[in-house]
């Protein structure tokens, strides 16, 4: 966020008066281009120049990444992926050169990542894992020691400067792996040093004693730390990552977000296309020629595939490495077969022109020389090898062409339209625009008191805060969900009870989304069960079962339960809807999302008043009335 502010002030220093909003809108595409450069640098570091170019070209169009880097997607992730790849680039550079300078840069890049996104946890676990694997596979080198220790010490100190992180790097379990590997490296180096000093027999004794002592000391510290509360237990989100079914049972707030659902095969293909198939091939090529840096690519690839499988959102982390590994596959294959075509060509040229100066043996000699230069044994040329080469190259070209076509299509169809303005085709084929969200938000901004507090489901929290410029109860920050449970409780209760909750929460306006008139399916009635579940997770008196019909179905028609037909959410969505004709040949009050006639057509509101409903009824805003002066309502007698 301060990146945008920085860009803005730098531009303004040069009298380039770009509005801050435009800076924010274009920040993500700008960082996406930086990501392409960082991917090129990263891949070049691991493999070679050509592969780097292919990887950069692939990340440039990969839908998995474009989904978060289109213009207007002003999110932490937009910057974070650049920071992530750049950190990895500096890490492999540091590891490759063993240079303090690059390790320092690596920790700075890591610091930037920490300040940008909570996903920095991925880095602080992946790099230690890489170091550990190198250590275990006997690839320890002084370069590793220098780069890892510098990175860990500087990176940790820097990350602790971020308020949100604070002392977590030395206390929380998520960061313990990095600390552990750091310690292990010290022990390993120490042991090596001792080995040079003492004779082999006594060394074994020293080694065993040291091992047992350090392991038991670590265990004691760990147990004590956890027990005394210095080391925090793993958070729910982390469990959700390790066990995909955990969230569904324990944390409804995480399960309710579509981004947190396990990924389907279709969406893998949708976001990665050809990379799905190139990924294993690329991994194979990596394994065939293992280097220190290759191992990093392999670990990163495998880890991110797992995480992307657990949560759709983490497809974002997978996309860059899928591009890198895919690029390795493509460039290795192409190189192999292009070589064959090239090798075959001089021979065929020579045979075609008999009058040429180049005689047959000379051509063969040259081919052999080419082969020798490339460091491979001279292969005997088979009949038709050139043709095979052509076929493979053509196949890969075709694959890449389809990849480009697919990416363009996905980007234009799925990721380019703003979600706040909906468009549909009318009966006459003309375009109908549903601009209801902004209509409602702007109404709130212009025609309510400046200190008005708006209650809505948390999905729209940030939108209301930014566009309506009003205080909201809950927003898209779902780190703590007890207040969200309060809103869920109010929405799912009878009006009297809900009124008490709203009075306690000092609510002035309530905003609901209703798609029954237009057929917009992600409205509040369809999300309502999550409100019940999340409300129920903090207040056991709310039972999901009460909202189902006798047949155990979630419906809104006449067979729905009494609680469902009279809860606040139902009332607010269907207030006066019972008289509206929505579809030809259907009774009034016909819900076009649920495809049924609603069950409660005479909704009466006692403590709320409709103050605004947008043109297509997508957003409805109610005002919470002050308590009655003298009356029999429970709220007023209590007050």
């Amino acid at each position: 966020m301060w990146t945008a502010a920085l860009v803005h002030s730098v531009l303004h220093y040069f009298n380039i008066t770009v509005a801050i909003r435009n800076v924010c809108v274009l920040l993500a595409p700008f960082f996406a281009s930086n990501t392409a450069i960082a991917t090129y640098l990263f891949t070049r570091e691991v493999t070679d120049n050509g592969t780097g170019l292919v990887a950069a070209a692939m990340i440039a169009v990969a839908p998995g990444y474009i989904s978060r880097s289109v213009a207007g997607s002003y999110d932490n992730e937009g910057i974070a992926i650049f920071a992530l790849i750049f950190t990895f680039f500096t890490w492999v550079r540091a590891l490759g050169t063993g240079s303090l300078f690059w390790s320092g840069l690596c920790s700075l890049a890591y610091f930037y990542m920490v300040s940008a996104w909570g996903g920095y946890i991925f880095i602080i676990n992946l790099i230690p894992l890489h170091a550990l694997v190198l250590l275990l596979s006997g690839r320890y080198s002084n370069r590793l020691y220098v780069s890892y220790c510098t990175f860990y010490v500087l990176g940790t100190i820097l990350s602790m400067q971020i308020r949100f992180v604070g002392f977590q790097p030395v206390q929380s379990s998520e960061h313990m792996a990095a600390l552990g590997v750091f310690g292990l490296l010290q022990i390993y180096v120490f042991v090596n040093w001792v080995r040079t000093l003492v004779p082999p027999q006594s060394f074994r004794i020293v080694f065993r004693t040291a091992l047992i002592a350090s392991v038991s000391a670590l265990t004691v510290v760990g147990v004590l730390g956890t027990y005394l509360g210095y080391i925090s237990p793993w958070t729910g989100r982390f469990y959700a990552l390790l066990d995909p079914t955990y969230a569904k049972d324990h944390i409804p707030i995480i399960a309710s977000v579509s981004e947190h659902q396990p990924t389907t095969w279709a969406s893998f293909f949708f976001d990665l296309h050809a990379l799905c198939f190139l990924f294993p091939a690329g991994l194979f090529f990596c394994f065939r020629k293992l280097t220190d840096l290759n191992i990093f690519v392999i670990i990163y690839g495998i880890m991110s595939v797992y995480f992307a499988g657990v949560m759709v959102r983490l497809m974002l982390v997978l996309a860059p490495i899928a591009c890198v590994i895919g690029a390795i596959a493509i460039s290795t294959t192409l190189r192999t077969y292009m070589k064959q075509i090239r090798r075959a060509r001089p021979a065929s040229n020579a045979s075609a022109s008999a009058t040429a100066n180049l005689s047959r043996p000379a051509a063969a000699k040259r081919a052999a020389r080419v082969a020798q230069n490339s460091g491979k044994p001279i292969e005997t040329t088979h009949e038709g090898q050139e043709q095979v080469g052509y076929v493979v190259v053509a196949g890969i070209t075709l694959l890449l062409v389809f990849y480009i076509l697919h990416c363009t299509w996905v980007t234009s169809e799925a990721y380019s339209s703003p979600s706040i303005v909906l468009a549909a085709r009318g009966m006459d084929g003309g375009k109908i625009i549903f601009d209801d969200f902004r209509e409602a938000y702007y109404w709130l901004r212009q025609n309510t008191a400046e200190d008005a507090k708006v209650m809505s489901w948390w999905d729209y929290g940030y939108q209301i805060a930014a566009m309506a410029n009003r205080t909201i109860l809950v927003d898209n920050n779902t780190w703590n969900n007890t207040h969200i449970a309060q809103v869920g409780k109010a929405m799912s209760a009878y009006e009297d009870v809900a009124y008490e909750v709203m009075r306690k929460l000092d609510v002035d306006y309530v905003l609901v989304l209703f798609g029954g008139l237009t057929g917009y399916s992600s409205d509040d009635i369809n999300k309502f069960l999550w409100m019940v579940r999340i409300g129920g997770s903090c207040d056991s008196s709310i039972k999901e079962q009460d909202y189902y019909s006798k047949e155990g179905q979630y419906v809104v028609d006449g067979t729905a339960s009494h609680k469902m037909l009279n809860c606040l959410m139902y009332k607010m969505c269907y207030y006066r809807f019972g008289k509206v004709f929505t579809e030809h040949g259907k009774p009034p009050g016909y819900d076009r999302v649920r495809n049924c006639e609603i069950g409660n057509k005479n909704v009466e509101l006692e403590h709320l008043e409709e103050v605004y409903t947008t043109e297509h009824w997508l957003v409805r805003i109610y005002k919470v009335l002050p308590p009655m002066n003298r009356g029999t309502s429970p709220a007023s007698t209590r007050a």
Partner: protein, 451 residues
């Protein structure tokens, strides 16, 4: 001292009053069919003495505050009116005098027609209505023309927005016929007399007020004039009370009486690249139609404007430079010629208008030529794309404006034609410097040890 001054004023006033110009009769027509009060005052003058050069039109202090626009013609010739001067009547009431200077000295009789436009004179009563209710307005004025001259006979006719008159003050003789109310004729009214009357009538006219309008005109000598207008629009009619029901609004389009669904701006045909936005982005509800004289831009707010509701938006367009800018050979200056206010099909009241004319960097000697007096005027500076010293901005403010103010004004300034190349040279120089640094940078070795 103060007392002496007071006395002097009194004497002067007396001298004016004892001048030979006399009123023989007054006919007032007050048009209340829009949200403005348009007064057409026909004063038949009689001069029996020496040639008179001016006539004093007096307004009570409260009325003078609401006065937006004033013109007067003497026998069909436009007159020059000097700015209002505050005076005190013999009875000590404060009032404002507008001196109408005759184009030629008056001898004998003549007809003086004064047109006055007052804003915020209609008060919604009751102040709040529900969604389907009619709006009633109240208008209060004096049945007599407030005057420093004796009036032998006068009549006042008021045209209302509808024929439904809830109540009227009875000052006989008074006649209500359809949508018009006539007070008078009254005879022999002494000076500085007023007798209030109040009319209460149905009017579903929306009282649309632009509480703040900033009109920005930016000139680029590369061939473009950009106009941008920022509006704070408010429906100042009877406030919507209770709830707003979309169901009723959609079912009964006629029911919602004073609601404003859209306003129509009339733009010149050459306006291009129109936009209509607000703080949260493009407003998707707007239509444009063209006839052979102008473009009509229908600006539909995001939500219908009920009484008491507000909205903010900005819109703008570009035009070719030669449509608004000319060159004045005798002074050697460029002259921008454009209207002070935009033109609307609807009657709007502008409480506060700020016009900003931004001329290119390097221009100097800015000079405003306005068709009427402005309240404040100063020179500002704006730093934007490719500026080093900033572009001069001529700013002027005026309060309380109406559609009668849609008139052309001019801004003249000196500008040397070579200044146009300031920006490309700046760009070329900075790119050159950038590449130079790179060229030197990559050839420079900063290594401590030699390879």
């Amino acid at each position: 001292m103060k007392k002496g001054l007071f006395f002097l004023t009194f004497i002067l006033l007396f001298l004016y009053v004892s001048c030979d110009v006399q009123i023989s009769s007054v006919t007032r027509n007050i048009d209340l069919s829009s949200q403005l009060a348009r007064h057409t005052i026909t004063i038949n003058l009689q001069n029996s003495g020496s040639a008179a050069s001016s006539f004093d039109l007096s307004l009570e202090a409260s009325a003078a505050q609401r006065l937006s626009y004033i013109t007067a013609t003497l026998d069909g010739t436009l007159t020059n009116i000097s700015a209002g001067a505050a005076r005190n009547s013999p009875r000590g009431e404060g009032h404002v005098v507008y001196t109408i200077n005759f184009p030629r000295p008056l001898q004998g009789s003549a007809a003086l027609v004064a047109n006055l436009v007052f804003t915020h004179s209609l008060e919604p009563y009751p102040a709040t209505v529900s969604q389907d209710e009619n709006q009633f307005l109240r208008y209060t004025d004096s049945v007599y023309l407030y005057s420093s001259y004796k009036i032998p006979t006068q009549t006042t006719t008021i045209k209302l927005a509808s024929s439904k008159v809830e109540s009227h003050t009875d000052v006989p003789p008074v006649r209500v016929r359809g949508s018009s109310v006539t007070y008078g004729p009254y005879t022999d009214i002494p000076t500085f007399t007023s007798k209030p009357f109040t009319l209460h009538f149905l009017s579903n006219k929306a009282l649309l007020t632009v509480t703040k309008l900033v009109r920005e005109i930016e000139i680029s000598h590369w061939g473009n004039v950009a106009v941008e207008e920022t509006y704070n629009l408010e429906h100042s009619g009877a406030k919507l009370t209770g709830h707003f029901s979309r169901y009723d609004y959609q079912r009964n389009q006629q029911g919602a009486q004073t609601v404003v669904r859209s306003i129509h701006q009339i733009l010149p045909l050459y306006a291009q690249d129109l936009y209509y936005r607000d703080d949260i982005g493009n407003i998707s509800t707007s239509h444009i139609t063209a006839n052979n004289r102008s473009l009509i831009l229908e600006l539909i707010p995001r939500f219908p404007l009920f009484g008491g509701w507000k909205t903010e938006f900005y819109m703008g367009y570009n035009a070719r430079l030669n449509t608004a800018l000319g060159y004045e050979y005798n002074s050697g200056k460029y002259v921008l010629n454009i209207t002070v206010l935009p033109q609307y099909e609807e009657e709007l009241v502008y409480d506060d208008v700020e016009v900003r004319v931004i001329v290119p960097e390097g221009a100097s000697g800015l000079e405003l030529r306005a068709p009427f007096a402005v309240d404040a005027q100063n020179i500002d500076k704006r730093l934007t794309y490719l500026d080093t010293s900033g572009r001069p901005v001529l700013v002027f403010n005026k309060r309380n404006m109406v559609s009668d103010h849609v008139q052309y004004f001019q801004v003249a300034y000196s500008f040397t034609s070579t200044s146009v190349f300031h920006e490309p040279i700046l760009l070329i120089a900075s790119y050159f410097a950038f590449f130079l640094i790179i060229i030197v940078g990559v050839r420079l070795s900063l290594r401590i040890e030699s390879n």
